[in-house]
């Protein structure tokens, strides 16, 4: 089993300018967490930090898929709807149809993957823009949710209960939910795939220049279908985790989650034009968003809309930073030749 740390230590690329955004995100995470710790009692504890993973496990998983898609230069607007659809399917399958939970989960993951692959196919084979294709996917998945049921369905299933109510006990009396553990495993696998497999490198190549990738003999079309399938899979897995977290399926769950996922990926330093960025950055991006929400919940006086404004400000900061780095690199490059 290769852990994330293990992979990072033997990272194929030596630290350089491209890593700056990730370090800035890490710094920001530490900074916001310290601010929280200083301002609020009981904030600066290991458990609060672990709670970031527990409360955002689904978003971490969704952000993984989004990172793959954005690295190829695409975008996936359907993730929030697919999360909701997956939750609905979990709830209906286990609680209405009384099917065994592992079977239901397997089915949900297959549906999600197939859904993503279908969108990828439409984008690749018919050259419909990703924005539009995944928008249609977003409508479709949300529409199916609402068609299945207009109301929340709670999950009453032994397996789900058992997984949701138990957690991994860590030294020092801390705990980590199995959902969070799943998310961390997904992160490790994804980092491995991106850095150490041909699929991962093809993702970067396609994002750098699709035309070149194709002429170099790389399967550009297949890679694009794969990333949308991965994103579909991650959304479905995120949906399962969300269902575990809330023990219910609801057609209005995860509205706007695509924005959170995109924001996390951007804050994590991945460039939206594709080809540049690291998965670990997206995870840090999710954690930064998580810290902000935690701070707001610790501070009873701040209204919820400040979260959105804060995310907007952060987005602006990071995008401006990327521009700064990008502009410097460009000016360096254009000097010779």
């Amino acid at each position: 089993m290769t852990t994330a740390a293990d992979v990072l230590r033997r990272s194929p690329v030596t630290p350089n300018r491209r890593h700056i955004p990730v370090f800035v995100t890490l710094g920001l995470l530490l900074l916001t967490f310290s601010i929280g710790s200083v301002r609020y009692e009981n904030f600066g504890t290991p458990q609060v930090f672990l709670d970031l993973f527990i409360d955002n496990a689904f978003l971490i998983v969704v952000a993984i898929g989004m990172t793959f898609v954005i690295l190829t230069g695409g975008i996936d607007l359907s993730v929030g709807s697919v999360v909701a659809l997956s939750g609905m399917l979990c709830a209906i399958g286990t609680s209405k149809l009384q099917l065994p939970a592992p079977l239901v989960i397997l089915f949900v993951l297959l549906v999600g993957t197939g859904f993503g692959a279908a969108m990828g196919y439409m984008i690749t084979a018919f050259q419909v823009q990703p924005f539009i294709t995944t928008l249609a996917g977003m409508f479709l998945a949300r529409g199916v949710c609402l068609t299945l049921s207009e109301n929340q369905i709670s999950i009453e299933n032994g397996f789900f209960d058992a997984v949701a109510l138990n957690s991994l006990r860590l030294p020092g009396g801390n705990r980590l939910s199995w959902g969070a553990v799943t998310a961390l495993i997904a992160v490790a696998v994804a980092i491995y795939v991106l850095q150490w497999t041909r699929l991962g490198r093809n993702v970067y190549a396609v994002g750098g220049s699709e035309q070149s990738a194709m002429l170099m003999g790389l399967p550009a079309g297949r890679t694009k279908i794969q990333v949308y399938a991965i994103s579909g899979f991650c959304s479905a897995l995120g949906g399962v985790l969300f269902a575990l977290y809330t023990l219910s399926g609801d057609p209005t769950h995860a509205v706007g989650m695509e924005l959170d996922a995109i924001a996390a990926v951007v804050i994590g330093g991945t460039v939206l034009t594709g080809g540049s960025g690291y998965l670990i950055g997206s995870v840090l991006g999710v954690l930064v968003l998580g810290v902000i929400k935690t701070i707001l919940s610790f501070d009873g006086t701040l209204s919820s809309w400040w979260t959105r404004i804060a995310i907007g400000v952060l987005l602006f900061g990071f995008i401006a930073l990327q521009r700064l780095i990008g502009a410097r690199r460009k000016s360096r490059r254009s000097a010779p030749s």
Partner: protein, 503 residues
């Protein structure tokens, strides 16, 4: 002679409105360098794309090693032993040098990519070409010429039986070309069949064993290079007795220097070109000669305000002017046809008419649109004068051949009646017929009193039409030579080689 490694027979390929290839046959033997010659639009690119699987032929047979083969795509072509290096570097700028060489066939250990081995082997491969590079650096940080060589290294290491080099030399300087040729000779000795496309006749004669000539999508013939004189080759490519070149020589420039249009005093830009003093006069063609990266394009961009100068003053007849951006330069009567037609020049999705009137419309301001009648009249006359083909104003520019696109770009500026016209590589990558037409046009424009700056990598061309030649080297203006009829390309080369020593 051994059996051909590759044989194409009766290949036809049509696109909507164009028959790009018509019943073309082509043979390639192991251990030969085979030149593929033809004007733009002759079907060279289409033939190569059929060979690399980008396009599928409508009819015809492809035989590789005596086996009928349907090439399904670039990847399949590579598997069949056909590798291609294109004129535009088709690598991924965001990946490392080493990864660009190995991506798609990375060595793996225990199922995962072995980065150590990739970096080690990449270093070795580049060292064999005499390149000492940090292979972990991003490709985008390398110069274009180095990127080109990396693309060749990638292709060579693919264990190719057939190596297609599609105008690989157009962005290389002489040293790099020599290095490329030595690599090609070694590959040839190893039995690789090389298909070489280049617009430089000297290079064809230097490296090729045989040539195949295409014209208008049809096959003209296949010839051993030794049995074909340059004039014959050009005649076969253009399909006409080529007297145009000699004609132009006779119409050799009379120096009718007019008023001074621009004076550059110490104009420079850090990292682009050292401060330059230069006078440009009406009725005078000034050639910029120098190798790639010598600063010739950079200087042109400064004069047009495309980049802003850090130092120096530019004066017109009326005193110093600040050329803050192209618009200011246009207002001063300066026009600029950039080197990269597609990226910097034309708007591919717009029509010929829209592209031609663009600059004129811009200087009129958006509130004063040209009337339909006026547009038709203006555009029609330039299409006719420059013989733009197809002669239709509503054709999309992207559907035109390179030479005709260049003419559209020229028309855009001529229509604004500039006092000074800057042409950066106006004849690069276009066919000989169009090339001669453009050279003639430049001479006649200067005759009418326009100042022209003419930039070209081909010294013969610069010599033929310029009154004065500015020689650049290493981002410096090293000499100014009067073209009094005694200058030869060797003179200029020597000046470039010796630097500022004599002038």
């Amino acid at each position: 002679m051994a059996a051909p490694v590759l044989e194409m027979e009766g290949i036809s390929k049509g696109f909507p409105g164009v028959q790009a290839l018509q019943d073309v046959s082509f043979r390639l033997f192991p251990g030969e360098v085979h030149g593929l010659m033809g004007e733009n639009g002759a079907g060279k690119s289409t033939l190569i794309k059929v060979l690399t699987g980008v396009h599928t032929a409508d009819a015809g047979l492809v035989t590789i090693d005596d086996v009928d083969t349907l090439i399904r795509g670039p990847l399949h072509a590579q598997r069949l032993g056909i590798s291609t290096v294109y004129q535009e570097v088709n690598l991924c700028p965001n990946l490392s040098v080493a990864e660009n060489i190995f991506i798609g066939r990375e060595p793996r250990r225990f199922g995962r990519i072995d980065w150590k081995q990739i970096n080690r082997r990449a270093t070795e491969l580049l060292a064999r070409l005499g390149l000492d590079l940090d292979v972990t650096a991003q490709l985008g940080s390398c110069s274009l010429a180095v990127q080109q060589l990396i693309a060749i290294v990638r292709a060579v290491d693919l264990k190719a039986k057939v190596l297609i080099l599609d105008e690989p030399t157009s962005s290389l300087d002489r040293g790099e070309v020599a290095r490329l040729f030595s690599v090609m000779r070694r590959l040839k000795a190893d039995g690789v069949a090389i298909l070489f496309v280049s617009h430089f006749l000297e290079q064809i004669y230097e490296i090729c064993d045989r040539v195949t000539v295409l014209r208008n999508g049809g096959l003209v013939g296949e010839y051993p290079i030794g049995e074909l004189s340059r004039l014959d080759l050009v005649a076969k490519m253009t399909g006409q007795e080529l007297t145009a070149l000699e004609e132009l020589d006779e119409a050799s420039p009379d120096v009718v220097k007019g008023e001074r249009l621009l004076a550059l005093e110490g104009v420079g830009r850090t990292g682009a070109i050292d401060p330059v003093d230069l006078d440009l006069h009406a009725g005078e063609v000034v050639g910029f000669a120098g190798l790639l990266g010598s600063g010739r394009s950079e200087l042109a961009r400064l004069i047009f305000g495309a980049d802003s100068a850090d130092t120096g003053v530019i004066r017109t007849g009326g005193g110093p002017v600040a050329l803050k951006g192209p618009r200011a330069a246009i207002d001063q009567g300066i026009a600029f046809c950039p080197e990269d037609r597609k990226g910097d020049g034309l708007i591919m999705d717009l029509t010929v008419e829209e592209n031609i009137i663009l600059a004129l419309q811009v200087s009129r301001g958006w509130l004063k649109p040209l009337s339909q009648r006026k547009r038709e009249e203006l555009v029609g006359s330039y299409i006719k004068a420059l013989r733009i083909h197809p002669p239709h104003p509503y054709a999309l520019v992207k559907n035109l051949s390179g030479g005709n696109q260049q003419k559209v770009l020229l028309a855009r500026w001529l229509i604004t009646r500039p006092k000074l016209l800057i042409l950066d590589e106006p004849t690069r990558g276009i066919d000989i017929g169009a090339k001669t037409e453009i050279q003639k046009l430049v001479v006649s424009l200067a005759g009418d009193g326009m100042g022209v700056v003419f930039i070209s990598a081909e010294l013969e061309e610069v010599l033929r039409i310029s009154h004065k030649i500015e020689v650049l080297r290493d981002r410096r203006l090293v000499a100014e030579l009067d073209n009094d009829g005694t200058l030869t390309p060797e003179h200029i080369l020597q000046t470039i080689a010796n630097g500022a020593a004599d002038s």
